[in-house]
Symmetry: none
Subunit: 203 residues, 4 copies
DNA sequence: AATGAATGAGAATTCATTCAT
DNA sequence: TATGAATGAATTCTCATTCAT
């Protein structure tokens, strides 16, 4: 009967992706069934397989969509020659925190089900995740070369520490280990940079 | 022959736990079958269920055994009044890194299958994991009170950043994102403390 | 080919129920596997779980379907004001015996696996089974009030004795303790009523 | 250490049987584990296998012990030439009811787990159970020959109806379908005979 | 594009029984 | 006699995926 134009089809696909975010965030990837996603999206579950090859591919899609945005953001920050390294790191931290503030479910899914899921999706997307570390390491490396950062630690190490600190803070919010009021989000951006760049030591 | 006195019975239990470490590290918790553990341990299938209520309980046991050792170590470090906060954090970093050096499979299992597995075992053991964060936060809080650390970030935040940085580094080793040669282990201890306490900024 | 419209889908469900009757009657509920039912029905294993939540639910469904028919029949008999109590009991005995004659496997399953299975399904369906006793007791009570039956025994007791006698006779047929030729079925209806209403005593 | 004389050994065996009655009555045969019996008896569960070949044999033993007593009682009643058939049936009903009054758990186990368990133990002990029916049928047959009972129903049928009525009443007590106060026990004896011999019809 | 009936592989768990001590 | 560690067979149920309509 009702034939759909390409645009409407794309909307259905998006509906499914959006529903998946809700369901994955609420129940976890492994605990939910494909039919839970379909129910949330208000479609028959066969339709999920019309748009995606598998349940995995739904999560892969969510991750890649968002991670590519993150990588682009990092690249853009890095390309801005006017910024000091410290400001670049702050901009990255800010982007990640704002991503969480804007769509906590999506970030929860990406962190919990992918980047921290070392044995499943985390492993599959290792190369992609590593791209982010490498971009950050590059920022550190250049700052060490210019003398802005000390050379006490390797760039790769610094990048892991920086990203690990942010991810842990987001995990803290996700699991209520850390207060997550609106003002805490802004504070967190400063805290990450303060800790990683300035250090805990008294001046 | 299979002997069956109490002392040797306890050894069988240990055998199963040790085999589980090997199997979980190699195949992952969800990917392995209980029979894989039994085979690796060289015991019958059912014996796993004689000593443990479920496959989950095997991992729970491994985690709790080791995590309690970690908590004890942190408490002991904290109790040493002769140490500066920075040295306390270094001692903790050192303990974790040495744990990994001594038994990488066990630490891999604990990190990959528990502390980073936010949706399954990580959630179940959240309170236990949090104990570690709280102990570290306490060290930071006291150092801020004494003026050793600046008060720029909250202790809870600092604890998460510190732990997150270490865990990320270990994850880097586990997945070959970071060189894991013997000398890198010792260097890592310094790097973590240098980054978190000293900061990346040039002096 | 396997067709999949709603009407034929309902047929598959029926196929599974019918196959379950055959398999439960032949092997017993606990001794058969779900795959035996699927094989007998000529459907895939999982389809049983598409239509029923569990193996138990298959038997529950068979029992409830049939028992509700029995209850309706008893109610209908009781509602017929033209019948004497003795004729009502005869009609009930007749209905049960005809049920057995018409589908001995189904009645075998219901009696052996449910109404006599006091510790499992019998217990679960106690309330439903009791409804039948209560309806019969009601018939007896009214007959006692009208003077058709003596008041020597309580209605509840009489109902149990009546039902117990019939069930025991069916059990006798099921296990070849009693001759079960076609003519025996009709005779049994008279015998039950004769025994319970007329008594064994010589007139 | 402590060696046991034959008498003490027999006591352990009895302890296990008594414990089995308690456990089977409480949990049901299939739902309990051998270790539950051992726990109740206060012995290691290996000891159950010292005295009995299997879990089944424990129940078989309980049933056969008690059923042989019942058969002996029926035979003794039948042998008493001074009793009318009606009194013989009353004596049998009385014996069964008193058995229940004296040890309700044991009778519950025998009825629920054996005589009504048509697909398992009931089938295995069919011949033994049938002996009781046959003895009762013999009493009826002789009473019909002597003119005490009418010949309207076959002895085999009458025996099933009589036994079925009693068993159903006991089942009613076991599952609280029928009031089971002390006075009800004595009344039940009369009721069974009144129903089966006298009939429900008003005189 | 959309539906949902049909498929079937896969794994944890239970527990009666054995047997070394 | 007595113990309880050790064995391993056996079966339910889940759910991602396919595909006829």
């Amino acid at each position: 009967m009702a034939t759909r134009n390409p645009r409407q089809a794309a909307e259905k696909r998006r509906q499914i992706l959006d529903a998946a975010v809700v369901v994955f965030a609420r129940q976890g990837f492994h605990t939910c069934r494909v039919s839970d996603i379909a129910d949330e999206a208000g479609v028959a579950y066969g339709l999920v397989y019309h748009y995606f090859r598998s349940k995995d591919e739904v999560l892969d899609t969510l991750f890649l969509e968002r991670w590519d945005v993150l990588l682009a953001a990092i690249r853009e920050v890095d390309a801005d020659a006017s910024l000091a390294a410290r400001d670049k790191l702050r901009a990255i931290a800010s982007f990640i925190v704002e991503s969480y503030r804007h769509d906590p479910d999506l970030m929860k899914v990406i962190i919990v089900e992918v980047t921290r899921a070392a044995n499943s999706f985390g492993r599959r997307h290792l190369a992609k995740i590593r791209e982010a570390y490498d971009l950050i390491a590059e920022i550190v490396a250049k700052a060490q070369a210019s003398g802005e950062f000390s050379g006490a630690v390797t760039p790769a190490f610094a990048a892991l520490a920086f990203y690990g600190a942010i991810e842990q803070v987001l995990t803290g919010w996700i699991f209520d280990l850390l207060p997550g009021a609106p003002e805490d989000y802004d504070q967190a951006k400063d805290f990450v940079v303060e800790t990683i760049c300035g250090g805990l030591d008294a001046a």
